[in-house]
């Protein structure tokens, strides 16, 4: 199934989000192909069901991205493994400077959970921007990450915050850094029988300033581009800067050049890079020659706006 989808997606000239471009190749359809539906009692059972299906099975998380694809018959898994009834995958825990969130935690919960709001405002805010209220009531953090839409909010935040994704598969449990997780349009490092179980976010002793800026054509629509940024400021300097961009490429990316350029710099210099347009140009320059150059320009603007928020913090204390 994934292969079929990838084949179609590889021919698309703009990211994800534009199912029409893909769907037009098919006979018009709006009811899914037939499949078997199972509700495993445990993650291990889910894994074994998926491995027996040999790649043609699929986890059913919130279904807010998968089901539209199935209705349009762009995806046709033969088996759905429904994790919605597994309470062990819905949690938010704070332990040893790591915030762990169960993969089946719904966006609405991520957006409104007090612990997330306190420790990971960036994640909570980004979750509140996903789709519409009814979508957030069903959609899940793990589902969004595994779906890997290059314009989506959760993959961007996971990458920017260097999250670690825990997956359980036939070979046991492994942890995948977000930087290695996203492999392209709707493609991840997950093996066909692997199930995402939880996501770990490192949280330091302090709360870093953060910003999330996205430009969508309208509320609830996929972002044309989105930028997440967070910084550690101290001693009048940018001690650490993390900037992630979604929408410009086949997967979320980190603005490595910009991060390097500003890390270690005095705050005044970093702010100057904002006001003289260097920040914006640095990002836009990455898209030179790209057919989607316009998106890079948008990303440049959003980066500038995100950093303006982040760098507005005093940077005096921590």
């Amino acid at each position: 199934m994934r292969k079929r989808l990838q084949e179609r997606l590889s021919r698309v000239s703009i990211p994800a989000s534009t199912l029409g471009e893909i769907a037009q190749e098919l006979a018009s359809a709006v009811k899914p192909s037939d499949f078997r539906y199972t509700v495993p009692a445990t993650v291990d059972e889910a894994v074994s069901l998926l491995s027996r299906e040999g790649g043609a099975g699929k986890v059913l998380a919130g279904g807010q991205s998968l089901v539209p694809l199935m209705n349009l018959r762009l995806a046709a898994p033969t088996l759905l493994v429904d994790l919605n009834r597994n309470p062990d995958l819905q949690f938010v825990r704070d332990r040893d400077d790591v915030l762990s969130i169960g993969s089946m935690t719904r966006h609405h919960e991520v957006a409104t959970n007090a612990l997330v709001a306190k420790r990971l405002g960036l994640l909570a805010h980004a979750a509140s921007l996903i789709g519409y209220p009814a979508i957030r009531n069903r959609g899940t953090l793990g589902g969004s990450l595994a779906h890997a839409d290059p314009a989506a909010e959760m993959p961007l935040v996971a990458l920017t915050l260097d999250a670690e994704l825990v997956a359980v598969g036939p070979g046991g449990r492994r942890t995948i850094p977000a930087a290695e997780f996203f492999g392209g349009f709707f493609t991840t490092a997950l093996e066909p029988a692997e199930v995402l179980t939880e996501i770990h976010f490192q949280i330091g002793g302090t709360t870093e300033p953060w910003a999330f800026k996205e430009h969508a054509r309208k509320t609830g629509d996929f972002a044309v581009a989105a930028v997440a940024a967070t910084a550690t400021l101290g001693g009048g300097r940018v001690q650490r800067l993390r900037v992630g961009i979604a929408g410009t490429s086949d997967r979320p990316i980190r603005a490595g050049e910009l991060e390097q350029m500003l890390t270690g710099r005095p705050l005044s210099e970093a702010r100057e890079a904002l006001s003289d347009g260097t920040v914006r140009k640095t990002i836009a320059a990455q898209g030179a020659g790209d057919a989607r150059y316009d998106r890079w320009e948008v990303a440049g603007v959003l980066t500038e706006r995100a950093l303006a928020v982040v760098l507005a913090h005093s940077g005096g204390g921590a």
Partner: protein, 165 residues
């Protein structure tokens, strides 16, 4: 052989038990098997919001769920509210009084979304109302009277809650 499942759910306050194939969309199950045609289908890819129902009290897209997923759930459709013009829910009444509907196709999803929202946020601002219904497309009204209706319904519901206390 089609994979079928028994679904036992509380639908509009009543226990219902019916079988459905795995792939049957919950929206189709509600309309065809439960006979509740007040739930409408406008896009079947989760954008328009016409098929919105309340699942365990929260608005969801019934076109983005399969019928077997509703097993054990509590479902409320538009038919769970008043069944005639005399006993309307405050949200229904406000939509009527403020001309919050024209062709009526988005109305059930819109009313349910508004009801759940007002139960959660009793004194909303206009911006909150607009955000709450941002996933329910209305092609007829331009939303102006819908927003007015939800504001009015919010007042009625809050007053009602105060009276009961």
């Amino acid at each position: 052989m089609t994979d079928t499942h028994m679904i036992e759910a509380e639908v509009n306050g009543k226990r219902r038990k019916l079988a459905a194939p795995s792939r049957k969309l919950l929206s189709d199950f509600i309309r065809e098997d439960l006979g509740l045609t007040g739930t409408h289908v406008g896009c079947e890819h989760g954008v328009c919001g016409a098929c919105t129902i309340l699942l365990d009290g929260r608005p969801v897209r019934s076109c983005l769920m399969f019928a077997p997923q509703a097993d054990g759930a509590r479902i409320e459709t538009i038919e769970s509210l008043a069944q005639d013009g005399d006993d309307l829910h405050p949200v229904q009444r406000a939509f009527w009084e403020h001309h919050g509907l024209q062709c009526g196709f988005c109305t059930p999803g819109m009313v349910l979304t508004a009801k759940a929202f007002l139960e959660e946020v009793p004194h909303p601002t206009e911006a909150q109302i607009r955000a709450a219904i941002s996933g329910n497309v209305c092609r007829c009204t331009g939303y102006v009277f819908i927003v007015e209706a939800i504001q009015a319904a919010g007042k009625t519901m809050a007053d009602g809650a105060r009276t009961r206390e």
